[in-house]
Structure formats: C-alpha cells, structure tokens
C-alpha cells in the first residue's frame, strides 16, 4: 500500500485532490453563511471561480510529462493537461457569463456552484483516467451532478422534465458502458487502457463478443457526446435546463468526453480500429445530418444550438474515426475552436433578455443590428465561424477535418461532410438575416453585465484573429497528438 500513496503519484492527482478539498470546504461554508441571497450568490461564484483558478494553476505547475500513476489508474500527458485546461477555462468563463442569468432566474442556491464544481471534478477524473473503473467513477460523478443541474430550476416543469429525461437515458447509457466493460474484462482480464492495448496485440481479434463489447462502450460514449442515434435527449435537455447550465452542457462535458474517447480509441482500442472505424463513420455522418436538418425548422435558439452541437460533434468524431494522428490533431483543433465559438454564442444568448425574461425565440432578435450593433456584430462573427466561412476560425476547423479525411482516403466521406455543413450554414445565416434585415417589432433591452461583453468580444476576437495564430495552435495540437499516437 505504501507504493500507492507515493509522493509522485499524489502530485499527479493534485488538481483533483485540491478541487475535492475545496469542495469539502465549500459545502459547510455554503450551509452556514449568511447575508442576502444576491450577495451570497456572487460570493459563492467567486469562491468557485477561485477554486477553479487554483486547480488550473496547480495543473499548469505540474508539468506535462507523460506518466502513469496509481497502478495504471491515472495518466498524465500533454493531451490530459490541455483538455483539463480547456475544461477549467471554459468552466470559469461560463461562471462569469451566467452570473446575470442566475440572479434573473433566482438560482441563488449555493448547490449550483457546488454541483458545477463536482461535475468539473468528475470530468478531470475522466480525462486523466487510464482505466475503465476510473473512467466510470469520473463519468458518474459528472453525470449525476449534471442531472441535478438540469433540473435546477425547481419551479419550472421543463427543467424538471429535462433533468428526469437526462437521468433515465443517462442511466441506460451507463448500463451500456458497464455491460461493455464487463465483457471486455471477461475477454481480456483487464480494464486498464494500456494493458488492454498490449493484450489485444496478443490475441485473436475475430470475436463476436469483442465487437459486442466495443459497440456497447462506444454507444455509451456516443450518448455522452450526443452522437446520433443516441442524441435524442439533447434538444429536450438543452431547452429545458436553465440556460447557463445549457451553456455548460454544450461545452464542458463534451471536451471531457472527447478526451476520454480519444484515449479509449487511440490507446486501448487502437489495435482493433478496424472494428470501430466503420461504426464511428456511420454514426458521425448520421449526426452531422441530424444536426444539420434538425435545426432547420427550430424557432428556439437553445434547441437550435442543441442540433448545432450534434452536428459539430459529428465532425469531431468523423476525424477521430480515421485512427490516424492527423485525424486526432484536427479533432483537437476542432474541439478548441468549437469551445470558443460556442462559449461566445452562449454569452450572447445569456444576454438577450427583455423585461427580466431571457429570450429564446430566434425571431425576437430581429432588428438587433440597429439597437445593439456590438452584440449583433460579434454574434454574426461567431455564427459565421460556426457556419465555416473563411477566414474565420470555424473554416479552418472544418478545413483540417476535411483535409485529414482526404489524406486518409475518405474522399466521399469528406464530400458528405461538406454537404452537411452547407445545410447547416443555412440556419446560422438565417439568424444573421433576422438580426440584420428583419424589422423589429419592439426593441430589445439588454442589461448584460460587462463580463458577458468581455467574453463575447474575446471569443469573437479569437475567432477573427485565429488566422494569425493558426500556425502555433496547429503546431501545438500536432505535438499533443504525436504524444498519443506513435
């Protein structure tokens, strides 16, 4: 047992340990603190943000040397550090843009930040997991927090419904995962990713049971990242959950789930890529199209963003399904750019309110370009980026995906993917058209705080200026992917 609690092992898990301890302080603090609700809300948020910042600093100070600790349970390398940083930064930004919304919706309770921190803790564990058991622990910690968060708006029927739906379907997905993992364990006798990789190379791979197990595991992961046909929960949960939580849903868990998926596909199941490749291609094309067509007729911006997410994760999964280092690197680029754009879009959505009610109908943005040119312009830039117009970041994200597909001899898949993005461009452009060309019935009244403006402007700036630092980001992503794929 002594070797388990080795110093070096502890240092590797220090970010998670710090966040967990922070949460332990947070809970009694939340219970016993006094003061008015609004004051307490901002105080708690600040506390949570400091916790995340501290975690982030510890993470960065830890270095990114590739190591495995706790008897193969936990891993750390460049990918882990980068994905964790993305999660933490996105988490901090989402805190800052949801302040205003929370006071609007009276989500003052201190459980809100606590649960968000718990889910982030779960994600950190997921990202650094090197074993299905660790993965499952992180996944469940994350999911359970998210179920509750989805149902956070206690007086809203939609919110409770969203939480319940998410919970039931999530439980099924967890069942899939556990079933798959137990089969894997039955076949190989291990659940560790690295050991799995070696054991696959020493055994006959033509087993129906193995295929069965892999499909089970992939389906569960597909559910987490809302890939069709396991996407059904997404629009309903996005719409029902409080909008700040939707923003969280759309960005942070996706990063974590993709990080895990990369590790599973490229470490544990790399030897058997011939089994999962086709499955992933079919699923991702399906979700690109479901995402593209599903959004066409939506009138609610949150539902639209749900479909947009479905289609975007489709692209990431498509390039992962190549099982090449180019595919991996372009998916990391895509996730990064997607995170920035989506954060910006939600910063915008969270600021669109009228008479203390958040606007959800797309048509209510009409005439925004005249009343709030800054918001309209930044939102337009972000949407154009999501639609993939050059020279914005979204174009490069898609470009690298299609490039990797073409290099990987999957020209037809690339063509289909491009067609999907053409359809998707329609609904992004429709929003721009509404903002710029349609006459408004009544003027919007935006009372955003400055944080939202900063985040929105920052994201739009990143999206525009991507072209100038594209080289370094791409270089960086290539480095990361080289560390994973040999």
């Amino acid at each position: 047992m002594n070797s388990l609690i080795d110093n070096s092992n502890l240092i590797l898990a220090l970010p998670e340990i710090f966040l967990a301890l922070w949460l332990l302080i947070f809970i009694p603090l939340g219970v016993y603190s006094g003061g008015s609700l609004a004051v307490r809300q901002s105080y708690f948020s600040l506390f949570a943000v400091i916790g995340l910042l501290g975690t982030f600093l510890i993470l960065l100070s830890g270095g990114y040397k590739a190591t495995i600790a706790f008897n193969d349970l936990i891993v750390s390398d460049k990918l882990v550090v980068y994905m964790k940083s993305l999660v933490l930064v996105a988490g901090i930004l989402i805190f800052s843009i949801s302040e205003r919304y929370r006071s609007l919706e009276k989500l003052f309770i201190f459980e809100y930040p606590v649960l968000v921190l718990f889910s982030i803790l779960g994600m950190l564990i997921m990202i650094s997991s090197n074993d299905f058991i660790t993965l499952y622990m992180g996944l469940e910690l994350q999911s359970l927090s998210l179920y509750v968060l989805a149902a956070m708006k206690k007086d809203s029927k939609n919110s409770s419904e969203a939480g319940l739906k998410y919970f039931i379907l999530g439980a099924i997905a967890s069942g899939f995962l556990l079933f798959g993992v137990s089969l894997i364990f039955g076949i190989t006798g291990t659940t560790s990713f690295t050991t799995l990789a070696t054991s696959f190379s020493n055994m006959s791979l033509n087993q129906p049971l193995l295929v069965f197990a892999i499909i089970m595991i992939l389906s569960a992961m597909a559910f987490k990242i809302s890939i069709a046909p396991f996407h059904m929960w997404t629009p309903d949960v996005y719409e029902g959950a409080p909008t700040s939580i939707t923003a969280f849903f759309a960005v942070v868990p996706k990063i974590a789930a993709f990080a895990v998926l990369m590790r599973i596909l490229f470490i544990a199941f790399y030897e058997i890529s011939f089994i999962w490749q086709q499955i992933l291609i079919v699923m991702s094309i399906l979700s690109i199209f479901v995402g593209a067509f599903g959004a066409l007729l939506q009138t609610s911006i949150k539902r639209l963003m749900a479909y947009s997410t479905i289609s975007n994760v489709g692209y990431v999964l498509l390039s992962l399904s190549l099982a090449t280092s180019i595919g991996l690197e372009s998916s990391i680029i895509y996730i990064t750019i997607y995170t920035v754009s989506t954060l910006g879009v939600f910063a915008f959505i969270l600021s669109m309110e009228k008479e203390k009610v958040l606007l959800d109908k797309i048509s209510s943005f009409s005439g925004l370009s005249k009343s709030h040119p800054f918001y309209a312009l930044t939102f337009t830039i972000l949407l154009l980026s999501l639609a993939g117009l050059p020279p914005l970041a979204g174009f490069f994200a898609k470009f690298y995906i299609f490039r990797s597909l073409i290099i990987g001899d999957m020209l037809w898949v690339a063509v289909i993917g491009i067609l999907g993005s053409v359809v998707a461009a329609y609904y992004y452009l429709k929003i721009i058209k509404i903002m710029y060309l349609d006459d408004s019935e009544e003027l919007l009244n935006i009372n955003s705080n400055n944080y939202i403006k900063y985040v929105l402007g920052f994201c739009a700036f990143l999206v525009i200026s991507f072209i100038f630092f594209a080289d370094s980001l791409i270089e960086f992503c290539i480095n990361i992917s080289k560390a994973i794929v040999l």
């Binding site: 319940l164 739906k165 039931i168 379907l169 099924i172 997905a173 899939f176 033509n206 129906p208 295929v211 069965f212 499909i215 089970m216 389906s219 559910f223 069709a228 046909p229 396991f230 059904m232 929960w233 629009p235 309903d236 089994i275 086709q278 499955i279 079919v282 699923m283 199209f289 479901v290 067509f293 599903g294 959004a295 066409l296 007729l297 939506q298 359809v423 329609y426």
Partner: protein
C-alpha cells in the same frame, strides 16, 4: 514620360472617382483637367520626338505568361501612336476644360470627370499597345466608358436604352475582333505586333477550305479585324448605335463619339496595315463599306432635325471616308483625315453643345434660328467647323478630304472609282446638311423662344477657340503626313509597291482636285436656297420626293429591321428559356427541389423528437441493435 502620360489620366479618374469628397467638388473637376493638361503637354513633346525618329517600347509588367504565350503590359511609342496620343490628349484636355463649364449644373460632376479620365486612360492604352491583347483591353475599356457616359444621365430611360444599345452593337463588332485576334494567334503563335507583322509574308499564301471554297487566312483575319473596326467606328450595318449615343452629355459626344473612340477602328486598320496590305479582297470590302457608309450617313443626316444627330451621322459619314481611304491603301490619308476630323468635328460638337447649353437643353434645330446675335463666338466657331467639314480651302478638311478622293480616283480600280463618285456625292450632301444647321440655327428668323439665350462661359469658349485654330490650320500643318517622298510615318504604315494610289493621287488631273470644292459649293448653295431664300420650296421637295424623304428620315429603317429580325426573336427565345428552362427545370429540380427535400427531412427529424422519454430510449436501443446487426452480418460474412 510616356508612362506618366498614360497614367496621369488614370490617376485623375481614381482621384475624382473614389475620393470625390476628399478633393471637393471643385477639385473633382479641376484635378483631372489639370492632369490631362500635363499629359497633353507630354504628348506634344513625344510627338516632336517621334517625328525626329524616336520609337521605343516600355515593358511595364508581364500580364499573361502561359507556356509559349506571353503578353506584356507595354507602352509603344512610334509615329502612329504618337499622332494618336496627340489627338486624343488634345481633344480630351479641351473636353475636360469644356465640361467644367458645360456640366456646371449637374450634381454628379465627380463621376462625370472620373469617367472622362478613365476613358482617356483606356484610349491611351489602346493606342500605345504593342500587342493585340492590350489593344483589346483598351478597346473594351473605351467601350465600357462609352457605355457609362452615354448612360450618364441614368434617370433618363432613353439614355439607358441608348447605352445598352451601344454596348450590344459593339459586342457584335468585338466578337469579330476577338475572333480575328484568336485566328492571328492560331496562325502566328504570337500576338505581338512586331512578330506578327514580320511573319505575314510567311503565311500569306496559307488558306483553308470552307465548303470547297479556298479562303486565304490573311483575308479572313483582316475581315474579322475589320468587323471589330466596323462596330467601334459605326460603319453601316453596325452604325445604329452612334446616333442614339447622342443621349449622353455633349462633351462626351465630342470626345468619344467624334474625335477619339470611333476612330479607333481606323487606327486599328492603319496599325494592321502590314496585314491588310496582303489581303486585297478585305481591302476592297473596307472600301465598299466605307463608301456606302459615307453616302448613307450623309443621306440620313440631311433630313434629321436634332442638331446632335445630324452631327453624329456626319461623323459616321466622315468615318466612311477614312475607311475607304484605308481601303485604297491610302492609310496615311485616312489618318490625316482622322486628325483633321478630330479638330473640326469636336469643334462642331462643342459648338452644338454651346448652343444647347445656351438654350437650356434644346436640341431641335426647328426651334432655333437667328442665334448669331446672341452667340457670336459660337457662330463663328460653327462656321469654321462647317467650312472645314465641307472641305473648302484653306480649311483643314479640304486637304484631307481632297487627298482621300484623289487617292480613290487614283487607285484605278473599279471599287476605287466607285468610292470616288460616292465620296463626291457624299461631299455634296455634307456641305448641304452643314449649312442647313448653320442657316437654321444661326440665321434666318427665330422659330422658338431664344430670348434667354446667352453666350457660354469662358471654359466653353477657350476650347472652341483652340479647336477653331486647329480646324483652320491643321490641314495645312499636317500635309507632311501624306507626303510620299518623305516617309512621315517612319515605317509604321506599310504600303506595297503595287498599291500606289497615294503616289498617283498627287498626279491626279485638275478636275479631280477641284471637284470636291465645286460640289461643296453646290451643296452650300442648295442649302441657302432651301433654308434662307425659298422656305416653301423645301416643303414642296419633301412632298415631291416623299419616298426618298421618308427613307432618309427613318434612317432606311435599320432599327426597325433589326428590332424585327434580331431583337424580337431573341427576346422570345430568352422568354422561353427563362420561363420553361430556368424556372421550369433548373429552379424546380435545382434550388427549389433541394429546399423542399431539406424541409421534408427536417420535418421528419422534428417529428421523431416526440418528447416522450420511452421513445428516446427506444431510439437508443434500436440504434444499438441496428449497429449490432450490421456488424454481426459483416463479421459472419453474411453481407
């Protein structure tokens, strides 16, 4: 200096076109004018240098470089181009100056001056080109500016229609030109003037067979190039746009539709004289078309009543003279007439503009008369211009028209003789309609309200004065151009030894030399009888020869025939393609069809999203089972 000369007008165009606010309303007028003035001074110096024998090519940049095909942006200075530079810059500068006065009431001066300068630039590119592609660039550039300037008053429906007509008719000619250029490239493997002209002799006997008729390549080349020239220079068949182009502001008519752009065709033929010389049939065609145009346009001009239209048809007719001069290998006579014509025709147009300006945009000569008191300077200018146009000594037109007619006579061919007699008749008509204008506008009784008429401002009178001087002396000064003993053109114009019309012209009998003067005097006399002495006789003549009169008045129904034969079938064709082809097929199955399919798919996906959690769970299981089945079928090799 040549570079500056060419690019200063472009600078002017850019300045007043893009930064009108920055340089101000005055600046937008004066800056392009001053820049053109500087270019004009350069052009005098360059003309002087060229006469002394200087010639060179400045390569600016490579434009197209593809395999063996290389085209440069280049500026070529030689005798031919320097004469054109001088003419273009002189008229352009004067027109710029004139426009300052003429356009003073227009709100869009900046745009106007920008177009004028841009036109000047394009024209300079055309004349200084050293290859056919850059020539084509300039050719299209002037066409574009012509279009823009004819339609300058875009609120006038007729101006827009005229602009489009000019553009489309020119397209027909341009098609010929570009086919000619393609054929030249195909045969010569180069589009550089020097290379092409030097290798003409190598392929002059090449021919190809079409429907069992042997057609020499050179003939076809020249024929196609001349089609282009016909379009731009408004020769018969493609002449219909020129009269309508008078919808543009009058300075534009003076610059583009009298002095410079329409003469580009003549320039093209003169420039390509090394090719045309080997194509006797094409030259004959040029002569016939030129002669027919000169008589036809003069005939139409006598019954028109719009002052600008008369002058426009007169231009058409004079261009015909230039072409038949080229047709009998007297290219230098054609160029000579081009230069003198630029002076007196610009003078006539600007004079007409002055009259129109004074009468607040009245163009119908029936409503004028007796204006010589109100507009003395303009009247003198118009008289000089008309004298020059009619070819009376010692005015400019005498020298150039005389040599053309003599050359036609001296060519000793049937076509040449035909052109000579036609030309004489056209000269008679020319004198007649010129004095018809003078008598009806300036003399006799006033038939309209001319009480408010007033002499034009100085910016209008100065150009008139300069052009008047030119119209008097340019013929005399330009005589070296047609001197056969001393080659004025320094070899830029090639005339084969057996084509010696010009040489023989100097030995023409005396009756040939004086007949143009006599017919001109007869024309003036008839005009005097009809419009001053016996006004009722005019009416009688019109009724007596009503068929001839109506033919002339309706311009031989060219427009109507084109409308019926070409425009209407094309419109019908377009209508069918639009309604049946585009909307019915392409839209229905293309964009609209795709949109409908997308909408259907979207509806389907939306309807799957029922909101019931057991449906969702069911979808998950179905998806899972579908993937299982697919994979197992693959695994066991059942598919």
């Amino acid at each position: 200096m040549l570079k500056l000369l060419v690019f200063l007008p472009l600078l002017g165009a850019l300045l007043s076109g893009i930064f009108p606010k920055f340089i101000g309303k005055k600046g937008a007028m004066y800056i392009p004018t001053i820049l053109c003035g500087i270019s004009f001074i350069f052009s005098i110096i360059l003309l002087h240098n060229a006469i002394l024998g200087e010639s060179y090519v400045i390569n600016l940049a490579t434009w197209i470089n593809s395999g063996y095909f290389q085209i440069n942006w280049a500026l070529k200075l030689d005798m031919l181009s320097s004469v054109m530079l001088f003419v273009v810059m002189l008229v352009s500068t004067l027109v710029h100056l004139y426009s300052i006065g003429y356009m003073d009431r227009d709100p869009h001066q900046a745009r106007f001056f920008s177009y004028l300068s841009l036109f000047t630039f394009a024209m300079l590119m055309l004349v200084t080109s050293n290859n056919f592609i850059q020539l084509f660039f300039g050719w299209e550039g002037v066409g574009l500016c012509s279009y823009l300037l004819i339609g300058f008053w875009f609120k006038k429906q007729s101006a827009n229609a005229a602009a489009i007509k000019a553009f489309l008719v020119n397209r027909v000619g341009d098609l010929g030109l570009i086919l000619g250029i393609c054929l030249i490239y195909f045969k010569f493997n180069s589009l550089d003037y020097n290379t092409v002209f030097e290798s003409v002799t190598l392929i002059k006997d090449n021919s190809f067979s079409l429907l069992n008729i042997e057609i020499p390549i050179i003939e076809l080349c020249c024929f196609l190039l001349f089609i282009g020239a016909m379009g731009k220079s408004a020769q018969i068949i493609l002449h219909t746009w020129l009269a309508d182009a008078m919808e543009g502001p009058t300075p534009v008519s003076a610059l583009i539709h009298a002095a410079t752009m329409v003469t580009a065709g003549v320039f093209l033929v003169a420039r390509c004289s090394p090719i045309f010389e080997y194509a006797p049939y094409a030259l004959g065609f040029v002569t016939i078309v030129g002669a027919l145009t000169s008589i036809f346009a003069a005939y139409v001009a006598i019954t028109q009543n719009d002052i600008k239209k008369i002058i426009a048809y007169s231009t058409c007719s004079q261009l015909g003279y230039m072409f038949f001069a080229c047709g009998v290998s007297a290219y230098s006579a054609g160029m000579f007439h081009l230069m003198t014509h630029a002076f007196f025709k610009a003078l006539l147009f600007l004079g007409a503009g002055s009259v129109i300006h004074a009468l607040s945009d009245e163009q119908d000569i029936r409503k004028m008369g007796g204006l010589y008191k109100a507009l003395p300077y303009t009247c003198v200018g118009m008289w000089i211009g008309s004298l020059a146009l009619a070819g009376l000594p010692p005015f400019a037109g005498f020298f150039s028209k005389d040599i053309i007619l003599e050359a036609a006579w001296a060519s000793h061919t049937i076509i040449g003789g035909f052109a000579f007699y036609i030309g004489l008749l056209a000269a008679l008509l020319t004198a007649f309609y010129s004095w018809k204008i003078l008598f009806m506008v300036f003399h006799g009784k006033s038939r309209g309200d001319i009480s408010s008429a007033h002499e034009s401002p100085l910016t209008i009178l100065i150009p008139l004065t300069i052009l008047s001087i030119g119209a008097i002396f340019s013929g005399w000064l330009g005589k070296p151009m047609i001197d056969t003993h001393h080659d004025f053109w320094h070899g830029t114009i090639l005339i084969l030894d057996n084509h010696e019309a010009l040489k023989n012209a100097h030995h023409a009998p005396i009756w040939v030399k004086i007949s143009p003067i006599i017919v001109a005097l007869i024309g003036i006399f008839i005009a005097w009888v009809l419009y001053i002495k016996r006004l009722n006789f005019t009416q009688f003549l019109c009724e007596r020869f009503s068929f001839l009169y109506r033919c002339s008045l309706n311009k031989l129904w060219f427009d109507e025939v084109y409308e019926y034969l070409i425009c209407q079938p094309l419109k019908k064709c377009g209508d069918i393609l639009w309604k049946k082809g585009d909307i019915g097929v392409i839209d229905r199955f293309g964009p609209d069809g795709i949109v409908n399919v997308c909408r259907k798919i979207a509806m389907r996906i939306k309807s799957i999203q029922t909101g019931y959690v057991y449906h969702y769970a069911f979808a998950m299981f179905i998806g899972l089972i579908a993937i299982f089945s697919w994979q197992f079928l693959l695994l066991f090799g059942w598919v």
